[in-house]
Symmetry: C2
Subunit: 111 residues, 2 copies
Amino acid sequence: MDAVSALAALAQDNRLDVFRLLVQAGPEGLTAGAVATALDLSPNTLTFHFDRLRMAGLVTAHREGRSVIYTAQFDKMNELLGFLTENCCGGAPCVSAATCKPSRSRTKRLA
Amino acid sequence: MDAVSALAALAQDNRLDVFRLLVQAGPEGLTAGAVATALDLSPNTLTFHFDRLRMAGLVTAHREGRSVIYTAQFDKMNELLGFLTENCCGGAPCVSAATCKPSRSRTKRLA
DNA sequence: CATATATTTCAATATTCGTTGAAATATGGA
DNA sequence: TCCATATTTCAACGAATATTGAAATATATG
């Protein structure tokens, strides 16, 4: 796993905002357009940032109709948190317990 | 607290290595020269990276004789871990328990 | 003081980053 | 098919990043 690219993906204001928004949105994710509107980012700029997050493994994308839906990858975030706790933190033993989960398990979209 | 600059500080191979080394070294820290030797970095390049870590609050520096000793700031790392767990992770509740501590509490230097 | 050691500063350079605007592509509906 | 919506691709550009080499600064020792 590449901790540096995951860190780099989150180390930018707009991308951090994008990721936080996707985390809030939970496993159903959000359309690119919804993120663009929410954060007031132009669609091409957003694509650039999505690419970084995607290459780092922090989000995935799938098309649904004309929209593309981006979804936070909680596993990857857990992996990063685990790495940081273990390697940059003196190895506090709480890693496995602090499992990263979607904020609210709302199963609203299309339901 | 500026999560982005802390993330950016760690989002580079050499700096991540530097920080991990300082975490291993514990509260006594390491001289700039020791880090340079351990990671095979030229001293001026290292100063550049130390600056980034320092501005992010992840390390502090103090002179001791002709050497400058750099020390990891565990509190700041805890802060970052807390932020990430809370904001990028759905708010898993383990944050306060996963307190970031020096790897080994050896109180050797000057003792 | 003169010299050696330890670190920082500075200028230069190639590379990468983040944004913009225009054009292209993909999908769905009239 | 034609058109509107949604997203991506591309070229361009200024800004920031990481590294190098040379010079400067700070401290200790003879």
